[in-house]
């Protein structure tokens, strides 16, 4: 599990008040009981954490943990997370 993936899972767990380990890389937002509004609050949290701007069309296309991770990975500059 890489850094982005673990941080996305941490954000979902924190925002949704989930038991640790409940959210996995294979989870869909539906599995986790997340509505579109919950998804928006995750996206906003990720923008803040990673200092990125996620455009609306990309944000709307995210409905699984994997998609959220990929979305962040596309926007975070290479090497920016190694520090």
């Amino acid at each position: 599990m890489d850094n982005i993936e673990s941080r996305v899972l941490e954000a979902i767990t924190r925002l949704q008040f989930l038991e640790p380990g409940r959210a996995t890389p294979a989870s869909t937002f539906e599995d986790l009981g997340m509505t579109s509004l919950d998804s928006l609050s995750l996206i906003a949290d990720l923008e803040e954490q990673f200092q990125i701007e996620i455009p609306n069309d990309q944000a709307m296309a995210v409905s699984t943990v994997r998609q959220a991770v990929e979305c962040v990975r596309r926007l975070v500059p290479d090497g920016a997370l190694q520090a």
Binding site: T35, S36, L37, L40, I43, A44, P55, N56, A59, M60
Partner: protein, 405 residues
């Protein structure tokens, strides 16, 4: 005894015309008022377009002293009320003033006033907060200012149910008149949402389109915020006829419902309940509806849900009845939307011209409706629905009838 309720006055201040004749001319021509936002610096916003009242100069209508107490939203409400009251040609008596209601809708109240106060307080400039800030920004400011200007002393209040505010207000005023609780009503809504702090909240919700508003179109990308105000004068049908007033139309049904489902995701069942309630209130069948002025925000979620709601409430008739969303032209004026759309619907019935959904490019199979695309249709319609479905799942639906016997 239920009294019939006539509409004898209309007023509108909108992004496609500052008064009723210009507003209606624009809608008939399918002309959109969606443009780059000019009253707010959008450098820090992800969207740039909105529907503002173009070339609006408040000093043409109000004294400097009056403007000290009037947020932009209250100005729009007052101007629309002035036009509607003048059109109705009311013969005031002290008794009538005591029996006149003012019922307005506003989702936001004076957001521009509030934004300025907060910028001063938190901006570190230590700017003094103006003592008029509370009376300017209160959501009922427009209702109070209208009541003071015309001397209306009957039941007056403001309803705040997000995007259904004005529809709920008009429905309440209709019931006040129908039941005999009031003998005249000025009712509608007004809104002025273009304040940076407020726009940032819409940005965060990610429902505002980067381009324009294309309700029911496959490539729609969201809603476009609008500002403005619209008011109707309602009075008992018999009283209006007795004084020889021009009857522009009638309100014949009103229904409300709550989705009790989700704070932003609409429910087709909830919306359908409001449509059915309006039909029941008016003692009408689905087939009697000849035109639907849709809520039609142009968001991915609203439009197919509205189509489904119409199917649930109107059955097969839902696919046949002509429908349009005039928000494609005047934008989504939130707590004023239902009033602006009510004016459009009343005029559509009066003139036999159904306004189009502008900016329409391609049908969406998810919205299987008879959408009036880009050009108005000449149809002598008798009855029309006007839908408003609010965030928070609170719905309001009005039914209007063409003026006549």
């Amino acid at each position: 005894v239920k009294r019939r309720v006539a509409i004898t006055g209309l007023g509108a201040v909108t992004p496609v015309g500052g008064d009723v004749p210009r507003f209606w001319q624009s809608l008939r021509e399918g002309r959109s008022g969606i443009r780059p936002i000019s009253t707010v610096d959008c450098a820090r916003l992800r969207f740039k377009n909105g529907a503002e009242v173009e070339g609006y100069d408040p000093t043409s209508y109000f004294s400097e002293k009056d403007l000290g107490l009037l947020d932009r939203f209250a100005q729009f409400g007052l101007l629309a009320a002035r036009e509607a009251v003048a059109m109705a040609g009311i013969e005031w008596t002290p008794r009538l003033r005591d029996r006149t209601a003012v019922v307005t809708g506003s989702c936001l109240g004076g957001k521009i006033t509030e934004d300025k106060v907060f910028a001063g307080v938190y901006g570190g400039e230590g700017r003094r907060t103006h003592p008029f800030s509370i009376p300017r920004a209160m959501a009922n400011a427009a209702a109070s200012q209208i009541a003071m200007e015309i001397g209306a002393r009957g039941p007056s209040y403001t309803i705040s149910t997000a995007c259904a505010s004005a529809t709920h207000a008009i429905g309440q005023a209709y019931w006040l008149l129908r039941s005999g609780t009031a003998d005249l009503a000025v009712t509608g809504g007004s809104e002025a949402p273009f304040a940076l702090g407020h726009l940032k909240k819409w940005e965060a919700l990610r429902v505002v389109a980067p381009d324009t508003c294309r309700p029911f179109s496959r490539d729609r990308r969201g809603m476009i915020l609008g500002e403005g105000g619209a008011m109707l004068v309602l009075e008992p049908f018999e009283a209006a006829r007795a004084r020889g007033a021009v009857i522009l139309g009638e309100v014949v049904g009103f229904g409300m419902s709550s989705d009790a489902h989700h704070v932003t995701q609409p429910s087709a069942e909830g919306a359908a309940l409001a449509i059915s309630a309006a039909l029941e209130d008016g003692g009408m069948r689905p087939e009697q509806i000849d035109y639907v002025n849709a809520h039609g925000t142009g968001t991915a979620v609203n439009d197919p849900i509205e189509a489904e709601a119409l199917r649930l409430a109107l059955g097969e008739h839902a696919r046949r009845v002509p429908i349009s969303s005039t928000k494609s032209m005047h934008g989504h004026a939130l707590g004023a939307a239902g009033a602006i759309e009510a004016v459009a619907t009343v005029l559509a019935l009066r003139d036999g011209v159904l306004p189009p959904t502008a900016n329409f490019t391609e049908a969406d199979p998810e919205c299987d409706l008879n959408v009036i695309q880009n050009e108005a249709r000449a149809v002598m319609a008798e009855h029309a629905l006007s839908n408003s479905f609010a965030f928070g799942g609170l719905n309001g639906v009005l039914i209007f009838r063409r003026g006549g016997d």
